[in-house]
Symmetry: D2
């Protein structure tokens, strides 16, 4: 037990036996499937960097709970410093992997549960917090990765859970037994579910009293019986399978749909079950934490995109083009905006009754609103600066073909002194950064839809004081 090395982490996944489908086929060796492995490598980096000087102090922290060093992704924030470290670590990791490292959602769940289970128990006299604390100890002692199962399929969006034609459109409790509960439903966009040891399920929306069967939170191993991972397609998914033209030579991302086909959950792994009025607390806390996680890591992804743009400006011979520099500045500005709002959201956080710290939701959502719009713009700017080969670069197999490879390399050569291979690699990376659907669409929909972020900042803002100030200046008394 204790902190895992990268090798131990991968070995630990090898010992699990999840049920997985991809492209219509059952996958038995998950860890060595090149596509899933590229995602596992991303998460593995959260273990690996713990050994690097540049990262260690951010990644390794101490858990009072088990009185041992733990990876930060296993520690619900216990101070403002912890909240701040989340953002800084996510930015550094985002830049390190150039995609999603997939371990933030687990921490976002742990942080949420650490706050809300306490509050539920206070009101209802339940013992969810005890369950949670035991689960947390287990996570920390074994340095495990967890995945957040939050987004339900939702069926007809104009109807609530109970009003759906098919009652399973939101994950629900179909049976309560002495030893636990049985749940059914599906959670979608489950980035990293196969890179995770545990799946933590939370409600995806506020629930009404009649929806109490849907007000459920729990944790199960990612290979629990009845759980099925169906890895969805993404735009560049065959690149890793073909081992060619991957662009990002190290990391990638995949997003399964997760089907809960009557899965059993023992009572000591249940963190909410029927207290419907707390569903909204769970989803607000989780989504605020997760929107803020995005702000850090997406700033880091822009850092990568800035590096890509600057490198190709150098390679192409356009480093002195003023308009290119302006576009890079626009990219940097977007990164710093995401980052600044998220940092502020941490620094302005506060202690919750359980002792865990929570962030400022308005500032976290302010960051996410920018992400939902500005990541697309940063990407567009990168493409503009890099040039048209982001769209249609020949394959590495073409470059290796003896009949045409030489000619292709002759014509792809740009600035003297830069090996053509480097320019080719950099264009390929730009393509991956710009066109990987698993990444770019999470900029928009990750952490809830853009409209959700907007509604949140309105609801959480103190509009009354703003009205009061305006009336005072206008000379209106009321």
């Amino acid at each position: 037990m204790g902190l895992k090395t990268k090798a131990e982490y991968i070995e630990s996944l090898r010992e699990m036996n999840p049920v997985v489908y991809m492209f219509g086929e059952k996958i038995t060796n998950v860890v060595d499937n090149p596509r899933i492995r590229a995602g596992i490598e991303s998460t593995a980096s959260t273990y690996e960097v713990a050994e690097l000087d540049e990262f260690r102090d951010l990644v390794i922290t101490h858990s009072p709970l088990i009185d041992e060093p733990v990876n930060r992704f296993c520690l619900p924030p216990e101070s403002i410093e912890d909240l701040v470290a989340r953002v800084k670590l996510n930015r550094k990791l985002g830049s390190w992997v150039g995609t999603c490292h997939q371990r933030c959602t687990g921490l976002d769940c742990l942080s949420t549960l650490s706050i809300v289970t306490y509050d539920v128990d206070q009101k209802h006299g339940t013992s969810y917090n005890k369950n949670f604390v035991n689960f947390l100890k287990y996570m920390q002692k074994n340095d495990l990765t967890a995945n957040a199962g939050v987004t339900d399929v939702k069926g007809d969006r104009s109807l609530g859970p109970k009003a759906q034609a098919d009652e399973d459109m939101y994950v629900r409790v179909v049976e309560k037994r002495d030893d636990g509960i049985v749940v059914r439903g599906a959670k979608v966009h489950q980035t990293g579910s196969l890179s995770s040891h545990e799946i933590i399920v939370l409600p995806t929306r506020a629930m009404k009293p009649e929806d109490k069967d849907y007000a459920v939170a729990f944790a199960i191993p990612s290979d629990a019986p009845g759980l099925i991972h169906v890895v969805g397609r993404s735009s560049l998914d065959t690149r890793e399978l073909d081992g060619c033209d991957t662009g990002n030579m190290r990391y990638s991302k995949y997003c399964p749909t997760l089907i809960f086909n009557d899965v059993f959950v023992p009572w000591d792994r249940v963190f909410l079950c029927g207290e419907s009025e707390f569903a909204v607390d769970m989803v607000i806390k989780f989504s605020s934490f997760h929107r803020q996680s995005h702000g850090g890591c997406k700033a880091g992804k822009i850092d990568c995109m800035v590096g890509t743009a600057l490198t190709l400006m150098d390679y192409n011979g356009t480093s002195k083009a003023g308009h290119h520099k302006q576009k890079v500045i626009d990219m940097i500005h977007r990164a710093e905006t995401l980052y600044g709002c998220c940092l502020a959201s941490s620094y302005e956080g506060n202690e919750q009754p359980s002792g865990t710290y929570f962030i400022d939701t308005v500032l976290a959502n302010a960051s996410k609103i920018h992400e939902g719009k500005e990541m697309a713009e940063a990407t567009r700017l990168m493409i503009d600066v890099c040039g048209g080969f982001v769209a249609d670069l020949p394959s590495d197999k073409d470059f290796e073909n003896p009949e045409i490879g030489g000619m292709l390399k002759k014509y792809l050569k740009a600035k003297e002194g830069i090996p053509v291979e480097n320019r080719i690699k950099m264009f390929r990376l730009a393509e991956k950064l710009a066109m990987e659907s698993a990444d770019t669409i999470s900029d928009i929909h990750g952490g809830g839809s853009p409209e959700a972020h907007r509604v949140t900042i309105f609801r959480e803002s103190d509009t009354k004081s703003k009205i009061k100030r305006a009336k005072r200046l206008a000379g209106i008394e009321d």
Copy 2:
């Protein structure tokens, strides 16, 4: 001879023998390669719609040159009406294929040559226009498709053609013979080169006197000896090869790199050779025409995206969400802006000395500047409205798998009465519209870089009259 049917068009391609590589392998049966065929189908639609009531009057026109009905894509505009019809046809076709139909660049070349060869002859006493007119007759009589070979590889962008370390970074004349010229170099981003019978090459930039070997324009068959097509990768390129998850069930796009490995061009196919001061005219005329072609067809692509968004709003049960409707309005607004500026650019066109009509360049470039920024925004809005499955929908093979297909369909079902298969298909189309690199990157780089469009509207605007007006109001006399 005469107008070709779709079947005749495809048959005519089957008779050609271009040298083609893709994914490192030589392709011998181009027409039946599923990926290339999806692109050929797009171009084929320009033949097929000629038989549809809805399109016929726009597509079929009359050529005074051969006194026969011709496809509009073979007729340089001879009136304002022709200029307007270009835009309307491109919008309708863009919406019809949901991608690039690939036949506009040929018309843009023909239109350019019809103007500039005349002007060159007037100054230099050459006979390029005669060559061109004969070539045009051949195109019209056989209802052929041509592809524009314009964008050179360019090497180090900070250096001109002659100053490059490797002299072949722009296509150039390496030998002049009695019967013709020999050219060497490469043209990139050659959308549709294998859907075309002819490749028309124009210079890609202004040339100085010392660059005269690079001031060359000509046409050759797409299977001319020495010509090599290397089909580049695009984000969803294996979908057509696998025959699965294509999204757009009918059409796609591919973009080869075209290598001119010492290709012979007979003199009667040469349209410019050494008159370096006319290179800039060619590129400005071509790029203006082509930027305007984009405005039409990309407005049509947005029409498709609007249709996709509205359909998924219906299927998802979000048709009444005000913020979704606002986003659709934002999409429509972008389509109409591209279209409006392009239409105006046609209506404000004028006759050139050769009798061919040219568009208003400021308005055409105004449209393209919007495209370069706003197509990405329209795409982002579509993704936002459609939902997260644009990113990671399971494969059709998963839906067909007997073990999980039923469950997947259960959970993907949304609004009552809508077959789940339709919702799945519509998400898949949304993915194709949003994430096909061959399309989305052409929004940015097609028709020259965004900076080129900006420089053009400044250079072509009458800034002196604007200054004069301001000074008059300020009371300044000078």
Copy 3:
């Protein structure tokens, strides 16, 4: 009778006796009040430019109705050419006056009435069109200016006309007499009401059957008994009164509130009275025409702003700053976008049953949506380029003060060879262009609120065909 010279126009206003208040005082000599006069001068320019070569062909046209030459602002469009000329003339005039010339709203009303009165008569057997044609002859024969009385005060916006606590919140018929009707209410933001001979009143919104007293259209002289003009404040309104620091040395704009305090309208001046279902036609036709008028004249205003920016770049010594040039390009782009969409809206117009031509509403509203957002951006860019003295330039009186004038001129001097007086004048013009509330707020609210423009393009777009196209590509049959 016949075309008026500028002098005759001003003289004709002098003969009128409107009831006017400004700053709490009754104004008896309207024409010589410096503030109102600056607005009258703007409208006078529509008479004056008829004598300039550069404008004549656009301004003077022929009326078949009276078989005489008339000013274009008196002629409902009878052809596509007329629709196009509207836009071109408005752009040139916008640039000429650098503010609002105030004569477009009259034409927009005449055009609307020329279409809708005919349609009403067709349905109801009324004789509104005859009334209108006689009124139009009178306008044309005397070369008169009319003002559009459209925007009602509206009371509580969540309630319709009839549901208001005070029934006079929309102009309504309070009495029907044998010789005419008596109307009560108020119309606001009545730009140019004192520069006009006639006030033409139209409904401001769709009306339900119960609102029939509010479905009223008519024309009355601007000095009709019971009509009260209250000139509202605008940001720079005391400048003209003080005769100092006006910025625009020639022209300005003012916007009265117009109170109809039981005003009598003879029957032959009534164009709608109770046919409530036609109110919506009137407001849609008028607002579409007027939104398009904006597109022309505001493009012209940006032309002035571009001229101002380029001149101050020259004076300040920043002509070579790349980022300044980029900002000017952004300004030009906005002007051309407004203009292009409006031109297209004219070219795509169509003949109405009455023989009058109407524009394409989607394209006209597409232009206006840009105006509502982008004029503010163009203004911001101009301020950025010009420099901080747009905010706080000392007064002309300071420059003339013998104790400090010399020092101020010493320190305001910039580029050698440019008289400091010119730089001062140009900063003052920039201030007027940027900070005149009467102008800048009309960019947003003129022609109806931004939301109205958005709703219109959605309603008027053919969304069904877009859905059909998307379904075809997705392979969905229904």
Copy 4:
């Protein structure tokens, strides 16, 4: 001595005798001039709020230097907490006054000098820091307000200080005497110079060795002999003079040009004199601090604008209009973005060698870039939501006029239960917030031009590490 009350502050200004011109006339009673007084009232609020519970803890702090409580605007930041308090206080004050409180620039100067004079002394063995500390004690003990004299007139912007035709285009030392120096030049956009006891002058740009006479920093009383304040015009400046239609019933802003007509500065008030390489440090430190001050107070101004918009939505009856709510959210989002980046900039600050704390410049400038663009957008949104009367509301004098006042009030009435006077006042406030040039243009040019902010974030970003990250992922070693 010690903290001043508001009354004492105003009394202290009354004892000064600055030379002031406005509208061409010499102003002798500055404090009672209504226009200047409205600005003084803004600054007075920084004294007044010290007595309010809501503000006290933010405003009053302790100075170790004099071991007494001091106003925060007299204390260079000695900790991260101080840096954070700056931002929070500025936001609260911005919202409190709805304009510029004018006391931040003094603190920004004090903070800058507290850092840089120390560094200069370290290198040159000078005693500027001692001079500064004594000056700071004086400021603190007397609770004084200082104004930043930074922006020079600059002459021809393409030339440096020494290269100008007139050597006085940047403030310079024209004479060095035993007892001090004599300076000449002008500083512009001197917001609050007459609300200040002291003027602190810093260089406005980097200086080269040949510019050493321009590398000068010092402090003088605002009524020092030779110093001339010329109060510039702003858009609504006559409103306060007329005592009518002011909109903001309490506060305003004015911006003089400040002429240094051979002003004597004793040596103990000199903080830099010839050490040209430190000019850049002064301007970077000052501008970073000041750009951050903006982020706080402008967020507060948006708070006021949000309050205004929400109040008018209520009064107009549009509170339930979805698009209005969306626009308010867009406003809030902008406020939080400015604020978030500024807070982060403080939290990420660091201690300088002198012991004073400095902010993170990238984040401070990221905030300012947003301000330069987004304040205009927030303003546009407020106007859109409020309605057209922001442009042209009749004067209070009209509402008071017995002949028309009743009618005007009848027609301006909207929602039942809201006194019409309140709606009128709120429209008037909206006009002030939107159209006061002294405020809105400082959004763009305050703290240096937008381009300066952009250049700063590029220069201060660690682009090398971004390039390194990208190359690692692309598999490039170098």
